[in-house]
Symmetry: C2
Subunit: 594 residues, 2 copies
């Protein structure tokens, strides 16, 4: 705002000139005083000009909205999420979440960064500029998640971090997932943290450490953490002055967390975030609004739940111009039906009505990604032999190291089941050989990871036990964090077909059964995102989920476990494009256990 | 901290190398969770390395302090004060407040800036560098308080503000006192605010506005305000999202404020500050520790009072590295006897023990101010005629406009009496003329303001009614905000003597009775501060106070009203070096009311 804009704002606030927009007689939840009272909110340009009590006569406005039946709260602020999980590009994501009342987000674009590096981060910024959804970036710090163990499309080092921090809207460092690297003084991680520390920006954390190791991780500068699965985890961090970010109810026992918070005397330091919300969940349940709603349902006072999704994340992100409906702040205002039900009715962003009754009323510019962002699945010449495993010459039986999915305890609620659903271990099996190839038992599937960034072209193969797969195959370019092409199946023909389908789509997911593609979702942007709207992406992803279940694969509301099989930081047994990886002992291991 | 320092801190936090200092088994008030439990705090270098529960064996430390009988809280942070009110230089002030547990302050050096301008601000920074008391500066925005109405030593414009904001440790704009200028779009104020807004720094407020005008002032960017004399004042601002700074109990009815705060449901947004503490009060009652103590005594929960003097001011000032005792934060730790009594027992700053049982244990560097800072009372050639008022020629009686001090209601508590004790109005009196000069009635004194910055040398004269002065005189170079030489007396001989004494001291205060100086305090630094320690300055200032009462002047625990008679923003009648000033009608007026 220049001096002239400032003068006009002052005039409007004094009532000397009309405000652009007046929300009359709304039920106003005051985040500072905790009071609820009737108020009228005047907006001038993109700022709040005044908040006056009641609904006095004589306020002049170009446009008036009746707020009598509604409650006003600030636009929701999500301080930790990956847009890529929605499978939408930033403009499409904005379309999807603005009607949910989300008006500011701080994204960690580490999925696209694993594919396209700094350039991918730049593309996320370019495509999200000047949207009513304000998009800030925390620079991804752990790309790839484990250097040397997997082939990512790009690597991000301390120099790249410094360059990104000089860009507009890059306001900090994203979750420092290599917590072990930090406390063990890994040079790469120390330099990356130093880059953030020297510029005084916010540094976000991600850790499962405890005790003195957790102290060390926090001492290194990590301010916040979202890896809180139980109140006990969260409390240890909170006690150490770390902000805790409580996220999607698909992952958490919200009731337990709320009970824990309420057992404390007036705690502060907790925020609500989403982290990952898949497109079907986003369409059905909402976004940060759903997290707030679920915490309120579980008994958290609406005042506290709303502070945790507005003013506190604003302070955490050093965005002092928002997070509260007060004079001079950004006019991001959400009108909801009720503080308990928490249904979003109207959303104002930058002083304009952008959504009403769940529908956008302002067109979001459809910014497409450049061509090179859609040419990231660089795989060619796949053949059947890439998806079957040849035994050592002359053997009739062979001992192999298989990745075994652990069956989660049956009586766990969904929220607690996910972490268990992706845990694995290595076990040894002896398999027969047929025509020179391994012959699978019924509980096994072949899993292949195809380097897809056009670097090595390497294909690693392994065996997965207890996936549930009966027949058919699935291929996906979503495969955290390097997002190589992961292919799972029981027959090489099916696997080849699924892989080729995904390559043809320039990225995405395809499910094959009985020799045909029964569901697919094109994700051409970095192999991760679609430029289509949520409606279409959610429809297709739902079909993919159904197809996955149809061929027998286990699923979880938070995410299909498939997406995590190549992530070499989750215990104990993984597969990357470089081969099988023993997470506990931190080394690549062979398939044949001779 | 460089990478090597960071690595050592991580090692110390993990227990891989010994910490420098360990406070064992202290009662730890956790500001995030609200819990109190036994903990041991490890400090490495100037940082907290770890906080572990209980008092476990095996923690290695170079030095160990037993905390069993004490409570640990973070160093106190004062976000609004003028060091000059203590009459001490920054190093002497540090000596005085460190034993009180104050470890970070954000000063508004607007007193020295009125005398020496930007250079004065620079001197405050120079003399306060690298002290265990961390001194930050908010750039003074209203120097002089009313341009054109008084002669200050310097003026500060938007360009000067921009220059100062580029200096190290200048982190925002200090109280924007010209609130009327802001809402009336005064160009100077708009440009100054713009300077702060464009750099995204904190802007502090100072206002008595209400309603839409208050909205406009806040909309312009003012984040916080300390002019809260009643809960009602404070509540209006808090409701508008303005941080309220509650200050010294000499000015406030603390009980009423606490009762008001407690009537709200879990309010946030209030801070504790000191603003002005005179040396005798500082020595007797303490500093921000006394404000915290008084709020606790009045019933504010210690958790809330302490948050309001530690973590919340840290966030307000964007000082993310302090305000809480947690790993990685600055090791500013205060040990107190009890959360209710709040007596400071030990103070650690930057990881070193700096005070114990109210006494400094570390030497503070005695940085003297440069000579030009001590040559600011540029007055010469005063004579008797400067302190008596010649009547228009040939008149026997003459009607004059006198400044009348309003007698505060007798039954008011001290805290509410101050504001009233400095209120004045003009009244008209008819006085006899003797030998060509006005003859005073018993209720009158002559008040003269001598320009002392070496600019105009102008002397203005007026009459003060109801000061209580019986005989003698007082002169002072503390005279808000331009700090010209103010002289009050009934006889020109006494006034001349007092003025000459102050000039001889190179600034300060002198009281004359029966033709001799009965008390004086030398304040050679800008005519405002002494380079002597608190003990000496408080002794002498106490004697000055006694002497003022002895000659009949009214006093107030917060400050002698004398210091405010030349401040042309306090209603209704003032006198500056340019003459009598009608605050309500905002114009200079004549002494003779013919």
């Amino acid at each position: 705002m220049n001096a002239s804009g400032l003068k006009d704002l002052i005039k409007a606030a004094r009532g000397a000139i009309p405000v652009d927009l007046l929300i009359r007689g709304v039920n106003y939840l005051n985040l500072f005083t905790g009071e609820i009272y009737k108020a009228s909110i005047g907006v001038f340009g993109d700022r709040i000009a005044y908040v006056v009590e009641g609904s006095p006569e004589g306020l002049k406005a170009r446009q008036v909205y009746d707020g009598e039946q509604l409650y006003a709260i600030p636009g929701l602020i999500d301080s930790h999420l990956h847009i890529e999980s929605s499978m939408l590009t930033p403009p499409r994501f904005a379309e999807a979440v603005l009607p949910r009342g989300v008006t500011t987000i701080a994204i960690d674009p580490h999925e696209i960064a694993n594919v396209l590096g700094e350039k991918g981060v730049k593309y996320m910024l370019d495509s999200s500029r000047d949207l009513p959804l304000k998009v800030y970036v925390l620079a991804p710090t752990c790309v790839p998640s484990l250097p040397g163990v997997e082939t990512s499309g790009a690597e991000i080092d301390a120099e790249a971090i410094r360059r990104m921090l000089a860009w507009d809207r890059v306001i900090g460092l994203a979750e420092v997932m290599d917590f072990s690297g930090v406390v063990n003084l890994d040079e790469r991680m120390i330099r990356i943290i130093e880059a953030g520390r020297s510029m005084g920006v916010v540094i976000d954390g991600h850790t499962f450490l405890k005790g003195l190791d957790l102290n060390a991780y926090i001492a290194a500068g990590m301010e916040a953490d979202h890896e809180n699965f139980s109140f006990e985890d969260a409390l240890e961090k909170l006690r150490l002055g770390m902000l805790i970010k409580l996220r999607t109810p698909y992952l958490l026992n919200v009731e337990e967390l709320v009970k824990g918070l309420k057992s404390l005397k007036d705690p502060i330091g907790y925020l609500l975030v989403t982290d990952d919300i898949l497109p079907d969940n986003l369409r059905r349940d909402g976004h940060l609004d759903n997290v707030v709603r679920r915490f309120i349902e579980a008994g958290l006072d609406p005042l506290h739940a709303i502070r945790a999704a507005t003013i506190y994340p604003a302070l955490h992100l050093r965005l002092y111009d928002r997070g509260i409906i007060s004079p001079g702040k950004l006019a991001d205002i959400v009108l909801i039906d009720d503080l308990e039900k928490f249904n979003v009715k109207m959303v104002f962003a930058d002083g304009r009505l952008v959504a009403k009754d769940g529908r956008l009323v302002e067109k979001i510019p459809a910014r497409v990604f450049p061509d090179d962002a859609k040419d990231t699945v660089r795989v060619r010449g796949l053949e059947l032999d890439d998806f079957r495993i040849r035994a050592p010459a002359g053997r009739e039986r062979v001992r192999v190291r298989v990745i075994e999915l652990l069956a989660p305890a049956k009586d766990l609620p969904d929220a607690e089941r996910f972490a268990q659903s992706i845990l694995t271990r290595f076990s040894i099996m002896e398999l027969p050989v047929e025509d020179g190839y391994l012959k699978l038992t019924d509980d096994l599937a072949i899993i292949a990871v195809v380097e897809r960034h056009g670097k090595t072209g390497q294909i690693s193969k392994g065996l997965l036990k207890n996936s549930g797969l009966r027949a058919g195959a699935v291929a996906s370019t979503i495969a955290h964090d390097s997002h190589n092409l992961i292919v799972l199946g029981r027959r090489s023909e099916d696997m080849l077909m699924a892989a080729r389908e995904v390559i043809g789509l320039r990225g995405g997911i395809a499910v094959v059964e009985n020799g045909k593609v029964i569901a697919s979702l094109a994700l051409p942007v970095a192999g991760l995102m679609s430029e289509e709207p949520l409606e279409k992406v959610a429809d297709e992803f739902e079909k993919v989920r159904l197809a996955l279940r149809r061929i027998g694969l286990k699923d979880h509301p938070y995410s299909p476990p498939l997406f995590f099989l190549a992530l070499p930081v989750i215990p104990e047994a993984r597969i990357t494009d470089k081969g099988l990886y023993d997470v506990v002992n931190q080394r690549l291991v062979g398939l044949f256990a001779e």
